[in-house]
């Protein structure tokens, strides 16, 4: 809806402008970033030829096409998906916990994912389903299982108090991630598994296959579609549980829906990229400073910005020290952390977060 509505012949001008241009700018930046990222690598692909190829032309040589469609694009799509999923899930959890410092891992998914991945790396033979290896599959299962456990632990008399969720999430996550050290000690492989696990723990978007991407795209689509009706509910929930209940919001249903959708999004991101820190924390945060706290407005902008942010980070991660690669999670932490602190200090006086 635009900034104004006609009310009985007069115009109701909304005080808070929706800034629809922001979505357009973000989309344009996203297209540009995809083209630039697709050009960067061991073999340089010129941006003009890339653009023509992608809108249906046949401007690249066969070798270049193979590089583009089997190496560059899958990785680009993967970072878009992971960034978007993590950011939206961060937005949902921040709304649910009424705390701008919550992130997608806040209710214990990271611990379960770590343990699952360790089991996959150290104990099980390497198998793969739809392109996902054992580590990714078990990380996905582990993330969902630990969230289920946390939710069950925090449930009292048919209600799930937020504080109980946070505390149970913290305890379960810590327990599970430390128990993965057992498995590392048992490792007879003299460090290979450790290295695999370490790169996964620090967040690495490896070389995904198209079937993998299709599955994660589907999960992201489900997650985004499910978030749309929740966004307004999160605005109401910001007034506090009792007030929201009085206004007719079913707080418990909203809570369950946010946890389910946030978990699907987080687990999807974990399966593709491991544990990538700060994205889910800072992207919604940055946008809140531009757009204000209305979740309805934040949702599409967060999905786009998250995708853009992680694409840029991942491109830098693979280009910065080529031919070697940084785990993208290291980069998001190194850039995201200080940036977050800067924002925090800069806005401390003006905006109460």
């Amino acid at each position: 809806m635009a900034g104004q509505v006609t009310v009985e012949g007069t115009i109701y001008e909304r005080a808070q402008k929706h800034k629809p241009w922001l979505l357009a700018v973000l989309s344009a930046a996203l297209v540009l970033a995809v083209l630039v990222a697709a050009g960067i690598g061991a073999v340089h692909l010129p941006i003009g030829l890339l653009a023509r190829q992608l809108i249906g032309g046949d401007s690249l040589s066969t070798d270049q096409q193979i590089i583009l469609f089997t190496i560059r694009l899958p990785r680009i799509v993967a970072s878009l998906l992971v960034g978007s999923a993590l950011s939206v899930s961060g937005l949902l959890f921040q709304g649910l916990f009424r705390n701008p410092l919550a992130d997608p891992y806040v209710i214990g998914s990271s611990g379960g994912a770590v343990l699952g991945a360790s089991i996959g790396v150290f104990l099980l033979p390497p198998i793969s389903v739809a392109g996902f290896g054992t580590a990714a599959l078990l990380a996905f299962v582990g993330a969902l299982a630990s969230i289920t456990l946390v939710y069950w632990l925090a449930r009292v008399d048919g209600r799930t108090p937020v504080v109980a969720l946070l505390l149970a999430g913290f305890a379960v996550s810590t327990m599970l991630s430390y128990s993965s050290y057992f498995l590392e000690v048992l490792d007879r492989d003299f460090g290979t598994g450790m290295r695999v696990l370490a790169s996964w723990l620090h967040g690495t978007i490896a070389q995904p296959t198209w079937p993998q991407l299709a599955i994660v795209t589907l999960m992201l689509a489900i997650g985004l579609a499910g978030s749309v009706p929740l966004a307004r509910n999160l605005n109401t929930l910001a007034l506090g549980e009792e007030y929201a209940t009085h206004l007719g919001l079913s707080v418990q249903q909203t809570r369950i829906a946010v946890i389910v959708i946030g978990s699907i999004l987080t687990a999807a991101a974990v399966a593709l990229g491991g544990l990538i820190s700060f994205v889910g924390l800072i992207v919604p945060h940055m946008l809140r400073m531009v757009l204000g706290p209305d979740h309805v407005r934040l949702l599409p902008a967060t999905a786009l910005t998250g995708a853009l942010f992680l694409l840029v980070a991942d491109t830098v991660a693979r280009a910065a020290i080529a031919p070697a690669e940084l785990p993208v999670g290291v980069l998001t932490a190194l850039i995201g952390g200080p940036f977050f602190l800067y924002l925090l200090r800069k806005t401390k006086q003006e905006v109460m977060l």
Binding site: Q16, A238, L239, G248
Partner: protein, 259 residues
């Protein structure tokens, strides 16, 4: 005439701590009631029971003759608005976005706000004189402004009954009179009001009736004249008012002492 809200044999307790017992009372259209009593007497509990966010342990609370237990909270919130004492908002919502939440009971799952919603919001902000504040951040408002914005949220629900929990608390005397004026204005708009009040001096002239709650005692109802007598208050509040003659005088003549 049927009451808007009716308490029929209502009892309530937190665990084994009894708060209310055998409460029979009704709030009628256009009525303006002050609920007074010492801390812990159950003033807020009474308001929450009327708002449907607490269910009575025994007895029934009825909204226009219908048991609240069988009504959806959305339906209740379209007739009854509850303005809580404290609201903590974690994000920097603007006044407009805050007041918009009052439309929640009217919104469909996927629908946005329509012209009628904006009209209700505008009316609510105009009545409370908060229209000019609408692009300000709620968390940065002063106490008096915040109180009026909270009332605006309640009015955006287009209620027939407005429940105010300690609306004058932490306000200076000038802002208290703003709220008093607002209450009188809303009364003329035909909205019934039940407010829990600590400052007894502000009751006379604003509220037509007083419900006096005292722990372990049945509620006493009457006009401010009957209820705000030193003898009655001394017993209800368990204190000695005659040691404070100036306080008594101020209560009888609030205007003289506060202007």
């Amino acid at each position: 005439m049927k009451p808007l809200i009716e308490f029929a044999g209502v009892g309530f307790s937190y665990g084994d701590r009894n708060i209310l017992r055998d409460l029979d009372a009704g709030v009628f259209e256009n009525q303006c009631i002050a609920v007074v009593g010492p801390n812990g007497a159950g003033k807020t509990t009474l308001l929450r029971l009327a708002a449907g966010t607490l269910a009575p342990v025994c007895g029934e609370v009825r909204l226009k003759s219908r048991d609240l237990r069988f009504l959806k909270q959305r339906e209740i919130a379209r007739s009854v608005a509850f303005v809580p004492q404290n609201v903590e908002v974690p994000f920097s919502f603007t006044v407009e976005e805050f007041v918009e939440q009052g439309r929640t009971p009217f919104l469909k799952m996927f629908g946005g706000l329509c012209a009628g919603d904006y009209e209700a919001m505008r009316r609510a902000m105009e009545l409370t004189d908060t229209w000019s504040l609408r692009s300000r951040v709620f968390n940065q408002l002063s106490g008096g402004e915040r109180q009026r914005v909270k009332i605006a949220l309640g009015l955006a629900q287009q209620p027939q009954l407005l429940l105010l929990d300690e609306p004058m608390q932490h306000l200076d005397i000038g802002r208290q009179f703003e709220i008093v004026d607002l209450i009188c204005l809303l009364r003329r708009e035909g909205i019934a009001i039940v407010a829990s009040m600590h400052d007894l001096a502000l009751i006379e002239g604003t509220f037509a009736s007083v419900w006096l709650m005292s722990p372990g005692e049945p509620i006493r109802q009457g006009s401010p004249d009957e209820m705000l007598r030193p003898k009655v208050l001394e017993i209800a509040f368990n204190c000695q008012l005659h040691h404070r003659p100036r306080l008594l005088e101020r209560m009888r003549n609030p205007m003289e002492y506060t202007v």
